[in-house]
Symmetry: C2
Subunit: 187 residues, 2 copies
């Protein structure tokens, strides 16, 4: 049983290194990404949409060329545990999602996924065991077509220097940068 | 010259593996993250804010424990090439930004940063050489305090099952999931 090119153990190591800890969502996510990857046309240049900001984006970043920083991964946070890999050119893609109808044999996964138990009541060894056993069988696939506005690449355009903070910013934002217009996250 | 625990060459390898190519912004970003890390209190548990979605988030994800998927990295996209690492508890942080006043000796970096030349007119060897030579000297630091609303952790809360798509979603979103309410990115 492998997750992309990694053994299960190696993937767990990478998850720990990158994500900080072996989160159940990361391991489930690894199987999901692997499964979707196996079902898109070979050699296709694809982008990714992730429908949650929890865990799954990290599985996508580790197992595909798509990252937040290179712009090939976009998070459309709908709170669903699902991802789509789609053709950069025409938007045709495969969406993989966690399928509740496939969880009946895996009570601990179902409890975790639907938050039926408090965290401290979870049996994390059993959960991990079930995730490993279930592999990608929890994931269902469907063909989708991504709307064109979600396929647009970000473009900074011309760069200006902010008269207030003296830093570079996108000219299209206005006569000063958005931080100096009041959007700064700092006091 | 190292970038965190990596030699320059090793960091370039990791960048290529994760980000897909040796983007100038990733290498500049590596030096920036390294510099900010060296200037926060040792052993501090920190979160990260990144003020751009281009390149820099990947340098943060590779060099710190903060990722998009674990929620310790938040992108507040102001279009400025800057990051802040701050104390999870009290919001006290150090902000590192690319400082235009420090670029006078590095004409190719300045051209790249302010987009003064078209991409095909850039001298990418000279650019890389200058980035390597400049290291973290292009980066200035300032103390900041992060506003409390930017420090809040995302919480999904209770989980419901969408009557339309049959997938799990955050109960607080309403009587069906936001995709089925019309926010789906698919046709």
């Amino acid at each position: 049983m492998k997750i992309c090119n990694y053994t299960f153990e190696k993937f767990m190591d990478i998850v720990k290194f990158f994500h900080g800890y072996e989160a159940p969502g990361m391991i489930v996510g690894g199987f999901m990404v692997d499964y979707v990857l196996k079902n898109i046309p070979e050699g296709e240049l694809f982008d990714a949409i992730c429908e949650t900001s929890s865990c799954l984006p990290d599985a996508i970043q580790l197992l595909t060329p798509c990252t937040i920083g290179n712009g090939w991964l976009r998070i459309v946070n709908l709170g669903r545990y699902a991802l789509t890999l789609y053709d950069k050119d025409n938007g045709n893609g495969i969406r993989g999602f966690l399928d509740l109808s496939r969880m009946d044999d895996y009570s601990e996964i179902k409890s975790w996924y639907l938050k039926l138990k408090k965290k401290k009541e979870q049996d994390s060894n059993l959960l991990l065991e079930q995730i490993r056993e279930a592999g990608s069988t929890l994931c269902s696939l469907e063909p989708v077509i991504v709307q064109s506005q979600y396929m647009e690449k970000r473009k900074k355009g011309m760069i200006a220097i902010c008269p207030m903070c003296k830093e570079a910013y996108p000219f299209k934002d206005g006569d000063k940068c958005r931080a100096c217009m009041g959007e700064s996250p700092y006091l």
